[in-house]
């Protein structure tokens, strides 16, 4: 068939290469599939937001929920409900659902970017040690009570920690001004160990009761969502995803190897640096508002690639939309599974994600190098 290459040349350590072939019947079918997927995901997103707002530990009828939203949006009087219900829907659920969408999109986008940057299918937003760095910031606030940026100290310190660790990894991974993906991963892993040790040290020095709170944060939670916390992530997401979409072709090139990329007109060193900065900032913002939510950044790109292939012009928008839908529903779980209490988000993403990943490994033999593994 046109456009098909041998398996070993088509796969880079687990990520199928985007085809650069000319349009053909199969490519057109691919484009159609993608179109349907994107439209489907967009509709799923709207439906998810609408439905997720009606679900929570306190029962409020869906009609009442939508009435509350409408009346708050358009200042119309649409019926009777209590102040408590009004506050729950408008001040807790809606910001939370929207924040879940923003964070899910952001993490998925960074996941795509990181997998391209280091050409490794196991890459996720945290391989630069960003989550370990953010954890150090978090324990400094929770255990040692360092409140510099009250009342946003936890978010601010988490952001500082995340970006700070990225800078360290960036500097450590350089060798005569060049950064190789392998050095990056190694430096990231090593720094993550150091930062985790520091986090644990501070944790053990402090009150035993802080453990639960720190663990909760490290596993990620959207329980603190407020309207005022949406602006920064929304702007960061818009800018981040916008820039990535514009660079989608360059990301395709990067995936094919440094020499090929240069031949295609992309400076791999410079581009990698730009992607890393973008990834660090976007991850920092997301981690600051929601803690370290795992698996989304790792999983979404792979799921999407199964359907639309590896072209970043398709993978990016699809991952962004899928990430949003996924995290919205995971967060519904986080607030209802052990109601009336809260579960951290990563518990659910991992319980849903890991089995799926294993299934992928088992049944999709063409993925991840198939017969080579």
């Amino acid at each position: 068939m046109l456009g098909q290459r041998s398996r070993s040349a088509n796969v880079v350590e687990g990520i199928p290469l985007p085809s650069t072939g000319a349009t053909s019947a199969s490519a057109r079918r691919q484009a159609d599939k993608t179109r349907f997927l994107l439209i489907g995901l967009a509709i799923a997103l709207v439906v998810s937001v609408t439905m997720a707002v009606t679900i929570g530990p306190v029962y409020i009828s869906p009609v009442t929920v939508w009435n509350i939203v409408l009346s708050r949006l358009f200042s119309v009087d649409a019926g009777q409900w209590s102040q408590g219900q009004d506050n729950i829907v408008w001040l807790i659920r809606l910001p939370r659902v929207l924040l879940a969408g923003l964070v899910g999109s952001g993490l998925a986008a960074v996941g795509v970017a990181m997998q391209a940057t280091v050409r490794n299918p196991l890459a996720d937003p945290y391989i630069l040690g960003t989550s370990s760095g953010a954890s150090v910031g978090a324990v400094l606030v929770i255990v040692l009570g360092l409140n510099f940026f009250d009342p946003y100290s936890l978010s601010a310190m988490a952001f500082v920690g995340a970006v700070g660790s990225f800078i360290l990894v960036f500097l450590l991974a350089q060798s005569s001004g060049r950064i190789s993906p392998t050095r990056l991963i190694l430096a990231g892993v090593a720094l993550a160990y150091i930062l985790s040790a520091i986090t644990s040290f501070i944790l053990f020095m402090g009150d035993d009761r802080d453990f639960r709170e720190v663990l909760f944060w490290m596993l990620g939670t959207l329980a603190g969502a407020k309207w005022e916390f949406l602006t920064l992530p929304a702007i960061a997401l818009a800018l981040g995803v916008g820039i990535l979409l514009l660079q989608a072709r360059s990301m395709n090139a990067l995936l094919m190897g440094d020499e090929t990329a240069t031949a295609l007109g992309v400076d791999p060193q410079k581009f990698r640096r730009q992607l890393l900065v973008l990834a660090a900032l976007l991850t920092g913002v997301m981690v600051a508002v929601s803690g370290a939510i795992g698996f989304v950044g790792l999983m979404m790109p792979h799921i999407v690639r199964l359907v639309v292939g590896s072209d970043h012009r398709r993978v990016l928008p699809a991952s962004v939309l899928l990430g949003a839908v996924f995290l919205i529903w995971v967060d519904v779980g986080a607030r209802t599974v052990v109601q009336p209490e809260e579960l951290p988000v990563s518990v659910i993403t991992a319980l849903v994600g890991a089995p799926f990943f294993l299934w992928l490994l088992r049944w999709r033999k063409s993925a991840f190098g198939g017969d080579r593994i």
Binding site: S153, P340, E341
Partner: protein
Amino acid sequence: MLRETPFVILAILAVVLLLAACGGDDADSVQGGEAAGISVENCSTTTGEDSQEAFPVSSHTYTEAPSRAVTMNQHTTELMLTLGLQDRMAGTAYIDDFILPELKEAYDSVPVLADEYPSKEVILGSETDFIYAGFASAFRETAAGPQADLADLGIPSYLTLAICKEEADSIQDIYDDIANISRIFEVTERGEALIASMKKDIESVTSKVDPSGTPIRAFLYDSGDDAPYTSVCCSMFTNLIELASAKNIFDDVDGRWATVNWEEVIERDPEVIVLIEAVWSTAQEKMDFLTTNEALADITAVKEQRFVTINFSSIVPGIRNPEAIRTLAEGIYPESFR
């Protein structure tokens, strides 16, 4: 479609931003206290973490008594129920072990919101107009949320005074809490009666114990095998054990609770060991651990088998403290109580 996706995504984000802009504006705030009312001084926590430093003082004026109070933690629940306020309560949460039998009926008449801390949504769903919490952790994001946010929604909150201050916890904090709560709910006579009866109970114990001579050395063992978790200088336990004419061997360590080490315990050689009876660590388990451990065999308390068992909920600042002092005194000086 592929070319238009960026614009679609940006459009969605623009909507979100718009919502964020208009959503953030309409926060209802607590009415300023110009109307005549009961002004109560308390403190507020911004981080939701217990700490030894003082929390910023805050005061709130209650124009009318709350009618749908939510109590978080056992000691606050028992305080309100002892004052007979169950019909002004809309919910309780986070019991440590068990409610006092005499309060059980009243307790059962109020909905239990959660076994531990309920989420914000559940708290708002109870339509509460007052939150009384025993620990700063009740105001974490995954629990009730920051006190400032609750205030914005018109829900004042009150934190146990013992947590607010930098100084060591003491019985006086409970009396002050009772005074404040009874003022807020306009049941001041009941409050005064409760304080009087607590003082009488304590007096009847302290009068039987002779404070002269070196105080007996006591060690509180909460949990932990490799390293024991104990109460230190500024916890309620230290005050209670002093009233029982004994001394906490770790009263020189800063904070309220701390993980120490067995070497220090051996060195300080307590004459009596107080074992916490709790769901997470029973007194029997701890006693077995102490008596079967070679390294600890020479500690006076272990040699003489002088152990006193007490419930965790009794040593938390609250209305059980007089009973705790009695339990401790009777355990340490059984001869005085024959």
